[in-house]
């Protein structure tokens, strides 16, 4: 199968996975390994550097990333303005030594909907500063187009609000973005609830899926991680194989000519 292209980096897995909300660090590690993902998201928060807990988590994440030969994808979770997001992105770049940034600028606390104005502003500043921006955005075609025009090679529209597990709220919007931005790497981010959601995104021709809660909050996160990995593969293969056109009327699968007893009673 084809690889996932993130700013020229070719990855075998099309699943990007979060590192939060797991029952334990051990389960997190096992779930990430089971998913086959090569990109793991993480964040920054206020902590005292002399406290050991924060350093332990960081070391643990480094071990996981090394084991899967993967990449860290820091996010700007919690930012509400372009200025906050740009500052956090710069701090992340220094710590994680990567110019990849999952850009989140939240405009509404209720549904954690991205602020499109601040997002575009932050994207422009970060791209000018050499970042490779992976913007988390709504499923608005024009917003995605603007992000692409600014230089985002990867765009990450939401399926539905973060952590809801509601799946693909607006399949038409998502299909239209795919149709109108054929050269962008499109990753469906947020709101994925079950493996079939991820499969559906891949059947639409999306390049990948980013999720966290759906795996971390499952009864068995490790098994669910594996299920998502397989769902993405199934969806991708279905898309590549070419899905049949829907038809308005029924067509028998079995040939009717010389069917036994056909029209016998007429």
């Amino acid at each position: 199968m084809m690889t996932l292209n993130i700013y020229g980096q070719q990855l075998d897995s099309r699943l990007l996975i979060g590192s939060a909300l797991y029952p334990s660090p051990h389960v997190m590690k096992q779930a990430i390994l089971a998913s086959g993902s090569q990109v793991v998201t993480l964040s920054l928060k206020r902590q005292n550097p002399s406290e050991k807990s924060g350093q332990q988590i960081w070391r643990y994440l480094q071990e996981v990333i090394a084991e899967v030969h993967g990449h860290l994808l820091p996010n700007t979770a919690g930012c509400k303005t372009a200025k906050e997001a740009v500052t956090l992105a710069k701090m992340s770049r220094e710590i994680f030594q990567t110019d990849w940034i999952k850009l989140e600028v939240i405009g509404d606390d209720y549904n954690l909907q991205p602020d499109p104005i601040e997002l575009l502003n932050a994207t422009e500043q970060l791209i000018n500063d050499g970042f490779k921006v992976l913007p988390y955005c709504t499923d608005d075609l024009v917003l995605c187009q603007r992000l692409y025009d600014l230089g985002c090679q990867v765009i990450m529209p939401w399926a539905s609000p973060i952590g809801t597990g509601k799946g693909l709220m607006n399949p038409y919007n998502l299909e239209t973005i795919r149709l109108r931005l054929p050269d962008a790497t499109l990753i469906l981010d947020a709101g994925i609830g079950k493996p079939s959601d991820a499969c559906l995104a891949m059947e639409m021709g999306y390049d990948g899926v980013l999720l966290n809660s759906a795996v971390a909050l499952a009864d068995n996160p490790v098994l669910m991680a594996k299920a998502f990995g397989q769902a993405l593969q199934a969806g991708e293969q279905g898309y590549v194989a070419g899905i049949m056109e829907q038809r308005q009327t029924a067509h028998p699968s079995t040939p009717t000519l010389d069917t036994p007893f056909w029209h016998q009673n007429s």
């Binding site: 550097p49 996010n75 956090l88």
Partner: protein
């Protein structure tokens, strides 16, 4: 002067300003051995600027470390 580090207030009686490096040692033990990044009044301060960037009365430092994220 009065400054804040990660939201916590600190009063320094004799200084009118101190470097970011000095401010960090006010509260943090051996920060050089840790993975962290700093912002001063909401603006990023790179590690190479810790000795030359001054923290003044009313300033606010944020010290951030890695955590899990989605």
């Amino acid at each position: 002067m009065n400054i804040h580090i990660n939201g916590k207030a600190y009063s320094l009686s004799n200084e009118i300003h101190i470097s970011v490096s000095s401010a960090l040692t006010l509260h943090f033990i051996e920060p050089q051995q840790s993975t962290f990044a700093v912002a001063l009044n909401g603006d990023f301060v790179g590690k190479e600027e810790y000795d030359t960037t001054l923290v003044k009365n009313g300033d606010s430092l944020d010290v951030l470390l890695p955590i899990q994220g989605g």
